[in-house]
């Protein structure tokens, strides 16, 4: 369970350009819950996601994952629980490295990076089998550098990379924002399947209200750094797609 308590975040405190990004967020996300966050630009949803990931530290408040207080733990250590998919496909993987090297890093996300060679034949076979499940024909291109792939292919691989090592929490920051509609659909379906198969606790940020309606077990709307609406699973079932559009009316 992720417990977010009284989180405040102020950027540039005391200066003319002070921004109160988060104004007291209280949120409990149960294990296996697929939470969708919607909200206009500047509503604080990306800041909230970064605070969960640890790449932004809160001004006040605490955050815990499975009972462990992680408020002061840096992002690279929180990676033992959390996997991320970023908005920009280019920054989601290491561009210069081959697919297989990217997967090797992902496979040891929670472990130390030691002085032994981990990419052996058995590992290559394992990765090829995993990649084949995407049905994109990428399993024979594992020695290619990441930057030779399209944005959709890279996002799908990034998703797959997140379950290469034990993963409890998956953070999706507008993963399809930079993709064409068809690739976006493939990526969202892949994500949904992995989340269900591995029972991942997931937070998805999206501007795509159709995705917000179709995916996830709970939906919240943020505005000006607070949670405006919180729709749980039962209420989400009754929700109509048009209701979502009305929120932004």
């Amino acid at each position: 369970m992720i417990a977010i308590d009284h989180i405040h975040k102020v950027f540039n405190k005391g200066k003319a350009n002070q921004v109160d990004a988060l104004n007291g967020i209280d949120l409990k996300i149960n294990n296996g819950e697929f939470l969708v966050i919607v909200g206009s630009n500047g509503s604080g949803k990306t800041t909230l996601l970064n605070i969960v990931a640890g790449s932004v530290l809160p001004t006040s408040g605490t955050i815990s994952i499975d009972g462990n207080d992680v408020t002061d733990i840096p992002d690279y250590k929180r990676s033992q629980w959390i996997a991320r998919v970023l908005q920009n496909p280019v920054s989601g993987t290491a561009s210069d490295l081959s697919i297989i090297d990217n997967f090797r890093l992902a496979a040891i996300r929670t472990k130390p990076k030691g002085l032994s060679i981990g990419v052996d034949e058995a590992f290559k076979k394992l990765v090829k089998e995993k990649i084949a499940t995407l049905g994109m024909g990428l399993e024979n291109k594992t020695d290619q550098p990441m930057d030779t792939l399209s944005g959709g292919q890279r996002q799908a691989l990034t998703l797959l990379m997140s379950i290469m090592d034990s993963c409890k929490v998956l953070l999706l920051d507008e993963p399809t924002a930079a993709l064409d509609p068809r690739s976006a659909e493939v990526v969202m379906k892949t994500a949904d399947k992995l989340i269900k198969d591995f029972n991942l606790t997931t937070i998805l940020i999206t501007h795509n209200l159709k995705d917000a309606y179709n995916y996830g077990s709970r939906i919240i709307q943020m505005r000006e750094g607070i949670i405006l609406k919180d729709i749980n699973t039962e209420k989400k079932a009754e929700l109509k797609q048009n209701d979502l559009f009305d929120w932004f009316g």
Partner: protein, 289 residues
């Protein structure tokens, strides 16, 4: 012929710098300027220890350690004080000038008649060929070590650091520590180049490192051209190309001198050559785009 053999030998001596810059470019995306200082540091250390009749098994580790400390310092300044990578390198390089002068005691250390690495072992009687053999052995060992390192899990994480910092941290890599370690390795390699060249040319000089970063940069850019051209993904071939880059660079300089260009213009010609290899791919790229 000896003219080109000399270029080959110098190229091999500079392969340490080339490998160092290759690593710092991977983790920083910019060449590390500390190189100018750590090269002289390696050379100066070698000179003074040789003059004090220290054996190679003490000199080489001392040189590697000194270079690593210089690189780690740049890394610490950059990551912990959040100072621009370029400026961090310049600061350490500048400060090293005084350190080097203090270590050497004076600005030039001639090593005439003092036994060096190249007179230590005699495979062949021809001194130039003997030097070539020793250098080749040395460079092969360094390449094997660095190649193995880059293929390990640690090495993959290091090569990824320059790509996308947020993501690499999300994959559980402490990028600060990776940069410090990477720069330590890079500058240890550079110091080894100083170690080799000092023994090869028979003296250490306080100004030997001025602008030497351009040798490494030139070598890596030549290598990158081939790497992009042939879409090389193998670590071993990449490293081989980087070392070839260092040798090609020296050949071009040798050629420049052999066609009778005034040595005063050597640095100008070197800069023009680097500009050419950096600029050419961009020019042709713009036309095709």
């Amino acid at each position: 012929m000896d003219f080109y053999l000399t270029a080959l030998l110098q190229g091999l001596c500079f392969s340490g710098i080339a490998l160092g810059i290759y690593i710092s470019m991977k983790i920083f995306n910019i060449p590390d300027i500390t190189t100018d200082g750590s090269y002289t540091l390696g050379g100066g250390f070698t000179g003074i220890l040789l003059l004090h009749n220290q054996p190679t098994y003490i000199i080489l580790p001392a040189v590697i350690l000194a270079g690593a400390i210089a690189g780690a310092l740049t890394g610490i300044i950059h990551t912990k004080l959040k100072i621009n990578a370029l400026l961090s390198g310049i600061l350490v390089m500048y400060a090293l000038y005084s350190v080097n002068l203090k270590i050497m005691g004076r600005s030039n250390l001639p090593l005439n008649g003092i036994p060096s690495l190249f007179s230590l072992i005699n495979f062949i009687t021809n001194p130039n060929q003997n030097t070539l053999l020793i250098l080749l052995t040395f460079v092969v060992i360094i390449t094997l070590i660095i190649g193995y390192l880059l293929k390990t899990d640690f090495g993959i994480a290091m090569r990824a650091t320059g790509n996308s910092e947020t993501m690499i941290r999300a994959l559980g890599v402490n990028t600060d520590r990776m940069k410090i370690t990477g720069l330590a390795i890079a500058n240890a390699l550079t110091a080894v180049s100083g170690y080799l060249i000092t023994q090869y040319q028979g003296y250490a000089d306080i100004s030997m490192g001025i602008g030497i970063v351009i040798y490494g940069l030139g070598s890596v850019i030549i290598a990158e051209a081939f790497i992009n051209w042939f879409k090389v993904t193998s670590v071993w071939i990449s490293l081989l190309l980087v070392i070839s880059g260092a040798i090609i660079f020296q050949f071009v300089l040798a050629l420049t001198l052999s066609v009778g260009i005034d040595p005063i213009f050597l640095k100008l010609v070197t800069a023009a050559f680097v500009l050419l290899i950096v600029g050419l791919p961009r020019l042709s790229f713009n036309r095709s785009a």
